[in-house]
């Protein structure tokens, strides 16, 4: 898999953090504007895959620290459970719950179960894509 390209490796080192940051930006922006957990997850997975191309699989796994399958499982649990608070409040499942906080120095922070669901989707997408690609890459080697 390793392309042994100095240019790619140098560029990859800069691109990885940028892409990961961008994926978080997409994730948080997602509720009312284009973005969301799915596309953000794809961007994050893309960042890791780029790292696989420029370095190698073992160091990509080290970078991840966790097995992608764990991300997949955790993401599924988070996504399914994000609907539960509504049920405990006596509303239909998956009814969005919003919490607003005033921030010191003006502005407000809006948190919601929608965001939790999106985080779950994000993890599922990252986990699923990386499970597939890392396994395929290892099979090729």
């Amino acid at each position: 898999m390793n392309m042994h390209s100095l240019i790619l490796r140098t560029a990859g080192n800069f691109l990885l953090p940028l892409l990961l940051l961008f994926s978080v930006f997409l994730l948080l922006r997602g509720h009312d504007e284009p973005g969301g957990g799915f596309i953000a997850g794809l961007v994050a997975a893309g960042a890791i895959v780029l790292y696989v191309f420029s370095m190698d699989i073992a160091s990509a796994r080290r970078l991840l620290r966790v097995d992608p399958r764990d991300l997949l499982g955790a993401g599924m649990v988070i996504a399914v459970l994000s609907g539960a608070p509504a049920a405990f409040l006596g509303q239909p499942y998956f009814t969005a719950q919003w919490w607003e906080f005033g921030l010191p120095g003006g502005g407000e922070l809006k948190l919601s179960t929608v965001l939790i669901f999106d985080i779950g989707v994000y993890l599922v997408v990252v986990g699923a894509v990386l499970t597939i690609i890392l396994n395929l890459a290892e099979a090729e080697d």
């Binding site: 764990d70 599924m76 649990v77 459970l81 509303q91 239909p92």
Partner: protein, 511 residues
């Protein structure tokens, strides 16, 4: 609708999803996955039985997902038919989960058997409960994705061969389904099934409606393995692990039958003479080809697979005759069939473990060595053939009686002949597997990899249910009766989903 009821309708979908997600999260631990398998399906069964009783009491239970109201949001609707199907999913889910303890090895577990198993149950239940036609498509896909993976789990050559036919035909079916939904949406501007039913009543171009109805019929016909689209089923159902076969045999084709029942009672009831006449011919040909195919087979699971097809014919016959009694018979038949058929597959798995073969000519002597298993085979086998006092007798009796009432003599004759031929196939299995002496050179009992203990309780439990449905059929009949009443009186469903005000304002607009 109270908060509690709201949660209750969603739980049959949420519980398997959660169990699947958790077993994915604990993919390293075999014990945790097994516990989640058994207790997850047990919880599912408890919840769905509760849902059935609540539905019995309240007629329809409707939940607007995420508080987005119909016709714009997605609704989950539990009427009698849906609730009955969900309970059956719970029963078969629990039975196969317990059976899997003995049947599924660590290799299959590592390939993700348990998460896929739960995902399949979630897809099946979602398809039963949803009140939105596009959402129905989505649940079909969830179910199919899980079933594709379960079918090839283990990666043997025969599995791949069967899976290619299964996947290809099911993709064609999905494509037709999606096309039909697109046309329907273009015609009515809505995806909510109750709303579609209301709006189709005012569509003037009935020719186009019939075309769409035919697209749905072909698409669901493929899923249900009806004539002439059945050949994917006997090509694939005998290849995976027996627990998977049993789950597929019990639930998957019945989702197609359920979709036919739902769509051809609620939505396409304008031109019954035309559409249901076609269904009648499909039903008769399905019964005949299935049972004749089975007569030519000499592999345990392939015989059973062909019998799924012939039994699907009876269920479609109930819908095709389209009288209250016929629908009662059809629903009763579905209930009886799911339990009996899954059980026969489970038994075929146990005989394989005992004798090391699925081929009839290599089997034999099981009556001598395992008389208890022989009796347990007799119960579902005779029930499938329709002998009293077992569940199959009443199922066939109601449908045939409904046929006599509307003087559909040909259909009645076919149903009776197919019943006899089913008996022939079951006696063939009995003679070959249980009665004749063990042929020399075969039947060396393979040393089981795992203890076989957990294969027995599901077989015994399902056999007991078959007997109970036969002996105490009254409550089952009442449930089927109420579901038929609800299916034929669509205004109750429509009003429950859309609310009386909405329906009234639509009628106001029409004036």
């Amino acid at each position: 609708m109270s908060a509690y009821m709201n949660a209750l309708v969603a739980l049959p979908v949420i519980l398997p999803l959660l169990a699947g997600a958790l077993s994915l999260a604990f993919w390293r631990s075999s014990a945790a996955q097994k516990l989640l398998g058994v207790f997850g399906t047990l919880a599912l069964l408890v919840v769905s039985v509760h849902l059935l009783f609540e539905t019995w009491e309240h007629d329809h239970i409707v939940m607007h997902m995420g508080s987005w109201h119909a016709p714009f949001g997605i609704v989950l609707v539990s009427d009698m038919l849906a609730a009955i199907m969900v309970v059956l999913t719970g029963i078969i889910g629990l039975a196969t989960a317990v059976y899997s303890l003995s049947d599924i090895g660590t290799r299959h577990e590592r390939f993700g058997y348990y998460p896929l198993f739960h995902l399949l149950l979630a897809g099946v239940n979602g398809a039963f409960l949803t009140g939105d036609i596009f959402n129905l498509y989505v649940w079909f896909e969830v179910m199919l994705v899980a079933s594709f993976a379960l079918l090839i789990l283990g990666g043997e050559r025969a599995q791949m061969e069967g899976a290619i036919k299964y996947v290809t035909l099911n993709l064609v079916s999905s494509m037709l389904f999606l096309t039909a939904i697109g046309l329907l949406y273009g015609l009515t501007g809505t995806l909510n099934m109750a709303d579609i039913a209301v709006r189709l009543a005012e569509v003037e171009d009935t020719g186009l409606v019939t075309v769409i109805a035919m697209l749905f019929m072909v698409s669901f016909g493929i899923k249900a393995a009806a004539f002439p689209f059945f050949f994917w089923l006997p090509a694939s159902y005998h290849t995976p692990k027996v627990a998977v076969s049993a789950l597929f045999a019990g639930m998957l084709t019945k989702v197609g039958v359920y979709a036919l029942y739902r769509v051809f009672t609620l939505i396409f009831n304008q031109d019954v003479d035309y559409t249901h006449e076609i269904l009648l011919w499909i039903a008769m040909l399905t019964m005949l080809t299935g049972v004749l195919g089975a007569a030519a087979q000499f592999e345990f699971r392939r015989i059973l697979s062909f019998h799924i097809i012939s039994q699907i014919g009876y269920m479609i016959l109930g819908l095709a005759l389209f009288t209250p009694l016929a629908i009662v018979g059809g629903v009763f038949y579905i209930m009886h069939h799911i339990i009996v058929k899954a059980n026969l597959f489970l038994i075929s798995g146990l005989t394989y473990q005992l004798k090391g073969s699925h081929e009839l000519r290599e089997l034999g002597g099981l009556y001598r060595s395992h008389p208890m298993l022989a009796v347990l085979f007799m119960v579902p086998a005779l029930s499938l053939a329709g002998l009293p006092p077992l569940s199959g007798f009443f199922a066939k009796f109601i449908i045939i009686r409904a046929g006599i009432e509307v003087e559909a003599w040909l259909a009645v004759a076919v149903a009776l002949v197919v019943g006899l031929l089913t008996l022939y196939s079951m006696v063939k299995i009995w003679n070959e597997v249980f009665w004749k002496a063990q042929p020399a050179g075969f039947g060396q009992t393979p040393t089981p990899v795992r203890p076989l203990f957990w294969m027995w309780p599901p077989i015994v439990g399902l056999a007991l249910m078959t007997v109970m449905i036969g002996l105490y059929g009254q409550p089952i009949f009442e449930m089927a009766e109420l579901s038929a009443e609800q299916l034929l009186d669509t205004s109750r469903y429509i009003e429950a989903v859309l609310g009386a005000d909405y329906v009234e304002s639509l009628q106001e607009m029409r004036r």
